[in-house]
């Protein structure tokens, strides 16, 4: 199966007539990305589209124009993890910073938490596990990007315990 120019044209026509937000399709290395919104500009009447031709089979083509989802840009991914007590994942799963898409994150760097405060969710097969801080202290790092896969025992959030 392959995507022909006429297929993409029909897709663009349909997109214009709809209230869809974003579509990212790919067939055999041909990737189509259509987004109703531009990072800076307000939603344009004409959708913004990018079509990447097939690359070498070893490296599938991707568009680089994607605007990162809000939650992901908000997360910090430090190259070095500051010292402190790590909150670790109880299972393999998906790391979520907020209780639902669009909701504010459970915690931000710099925020003070108590032992038992929910700092994130690890989702595994539709089971939402709330992960809590083990100690009272200050969040010094959020190690994982929102919506990323994590392994069991992987450090998710680092807390510098209160002096005392």
């Amino acid at each position: 199966m392959s995507l022909e120019p006429s297929d993409i044209r029909r897709l663009l026509d349909a997109f214009e007539q709809s209230d869809w937000n974003e579509i990212r399709l790919s067939v055999d290395g041909v990737e189509v990305f259509i987004s109703a919104s531009d990072e800076a500009a307000p939603p344009a009447t004409s959708p913004r589209a990018a079509v990447a031709p097939p690359a070498t089979p070893a490296a599938p083509a991707t568009t680089t124009s994607a605007s990162a989802p809000a939650a992901a840009t908000a997360s910090s991914t430090p190259a070095e993890i500051p010292a402190g007590e790590a909150v670790r994942s109880p299972s393999p799963g998906i790391f979520w910073r907020s209780p639902s898409p669009g909701a504010p994150p459970f915690v931000e760097v710099g925020q003070h938490v108590e032992a038992g405060t929910v700092v994130c969710i690890v989702e595994v097969m539709k089971l939402m596990n709330r992960v809590v801080a083990g100690v009272a202290g200050t969040v010094v790092a959020i190690v994982v990007e929102n919506s990323q896969q994590v392994a069991r025992d992987q450090a998710l959030v680092v807390i510098r315990p209160d002096a005392g």
């Binding site: 199966m1 997109f15 067939v27």
Partner: protein
């Protein structure tokens, strides 16, 4: 839009139901294209289909729940129909609406029917108007105070339920008046979070209840038939573990009444396609009450297929293509008994902890009256993004006893390594005296079977 024969179907789902739809398309002589997330690019459905199109990243919100991506994929891949399977977008009227707007056939009821059926309060109102019992419950409740008045009237225990809900979310049992306020707030919050609508209703809680549902098929030419009932009373946290057809524990006159009620309700809703009417049967009082309509194919549809000989997914495709049903209610003959178990990647002894991982060994039994619906195979990686069901094992026999014997033996021949599964639990369940004798209700699994099973020596700490 006037229906037209289908040619090429987009499978807008994943897992075993995507494989099931690919098979139905093959059988109907239709082409199909699998819409897959990045995690499912190499899935069995993608391989069985005539083509595959990736519709976004592994997170369902970016792919299987993205209406634009699904409809756009159908357009780009030159599909003239979309089969939504179950779960994901299958009961979202917006998808049916978007299909209609873009000239694509939605394999399911029209958007208006999904809206009517999916709104529990509206569906109950429709049932009540037809004289179908809807339980001693209420319409939408405005406040805790109103809930208190109604509960006092019908008597505790009662059940609070989300009007827009399903799958047990937004559903809270209230044993006495003192619990009501806290329960109301909890149910309402859950309903708001899960469905974007906190509206609740309330109904009498039945102690000795069976969950019984009727499979309905309705074509666009006024013909509505039912294919008998399924008993899905073996539930944990409102998730079904075992389903069977027929509901042998329910008296025949009640089953006949359920079938008749389901057909009348489908007619009243102008139903088109395959649908399921769920009922609660009170075994003590020999009475039933309507619960809700599911406007899609169900996970447990195979038990009905095995006893009726009618392929429900193929019927969905034919109805969507404008065909009239080729049979009447009188032609539907149910034969024998069928039982399905859901094999999940979970550790039942560890509170059903999900068990993702790579399947190192995967051998399922083969035999007469043994059906396996699955998307898994050796080397398949069960990921964390989607639900934990890895296979359905369905056995058919001339009698319930024969079907259960076959299922018990078949479960003994399942060899899965690399992930933990619910197989050991299911085998013990199917072999349990209460279950064999059909002396259970919707609380049996959680209140009787599981506590004893979990407490059995050597159970904990062992990855089944």
């Amino acid at each position: 839009m006037r229906p037209r024969p289908l040619r090429r179907v987009l499978i807008a789902n994943r897992g075993e139901i995507a494989v099931r739809i690919a098979r139905a398309c093959f059988d109907e002589g239709l082409e199909c294209v699998a819409a897959v997330s990045e995690a499912d690019r190499d899935s069995l459905a993608a391989r069985l289909a005539d083509g595959a199109i990736c519709i976004g990243s592994a997170a369902a919100t970016a792919s299987y729940l993205n209406i634009g991506a699904v409809v756009g994929a159908a357009i780009a891949a030159r599909c003239d129909a979309i089969h939504p399977g179950y779960g994901f977008l299958s009961e979202r009227a917006e998808l049916a609406q978007a299909c209609a707007e873009h000239g694509i056939t939605f394999v399911g009821p029209p958007a208006a029917v999904i809206r009517r059926g999916g709104d529990k309060v509206a569906a109950r109102r429709a049932a009540r108007a037809l004289g179908i019992p809807v339980g001693e419950g209420s319409d939408a409740i405005a406040s805790v105070a109103e809930a208190g008045r109604i509960a006092a009237d019908i008597g505790y225990p009662v059940l609070l339920k989300a009007a827009a809900g399903g799958g047990g979310r937004g559903m809270v049992q209230v044993r006495r008046e003192a619990e009501l306020e806290e329960a109301f707030l909890r149910a309402s919050t859950e309903a708001q979070q899960a469905f974007g609508d906190g509206t609740l209703f309330l109904e009498r809680y039945v102690t000795n209840a069976r969950h019984v549902e009727i499979q309905v098929l309705a074509d666009g030419h006024g013909q509505v038939v039912h294919l008998g009932e399924r008993d899905c009373s073996c539930q944990r946290r409102y998730q079904k573990l075992v389903e069977e057809a027929p509901a042998a524990a329910v008296p025949a006159h009640l089953r006949a009444a359920l079938g008749e009620a389901a057909v009348r309700l489908a007619r009243a809703l102008d139903y088109v396609g395959a649908g399921t009417m769920e009922f609660l049967v009170d075994l003590d009082r020999e009475a039933f009450s309507f619960l809700e309509v599911n406007t899609r194919v169900q996970v447990e549809h195979p038990v009905t297929e095995l006893v009726s000989g009618i392929d429900i997914v193929r019927q969905q495709l034919r109805i969507a293509g404008g065909d009239a049903l080729g049979f009447t209610q009188d032609d539907v003959a149910l034969r024998g008994h069928a039982v399905e178990v859901r094999i999940n990647a979970e550790q039942p002894a560890q509170d059903f902890l999900p068990s993702p991982g790579r399947i190192e060994r995967w051998t399922l039994p083969q035999g007469e009256g043994v059906r396996v619906d699955t998307h898994c195979h050796e080397g398949y990686v069960v990921g964390a993004h989607y639900d934990s069901m890895v296979a359905k094992l369905i056995c058919h026999g001339a009698s319930r006893a024969e079907a259960l014997d076959r299922l018990y033996r078949a479960l003994g021949h399942v060899r899965i390594e690399g992930i933990a599964t619910t197989v050991p639990l299911l085998r013990d369940l199917v072999g349990h005296g209460d279950f064999r004798a059909d002396r259970i209700n919707t609380r049996w699994l959680e209140d009787h079977f599981l506590p004893a099973w979990t407490a059995a020596p050597g159970r904990t700490g062992v990855a089944a």
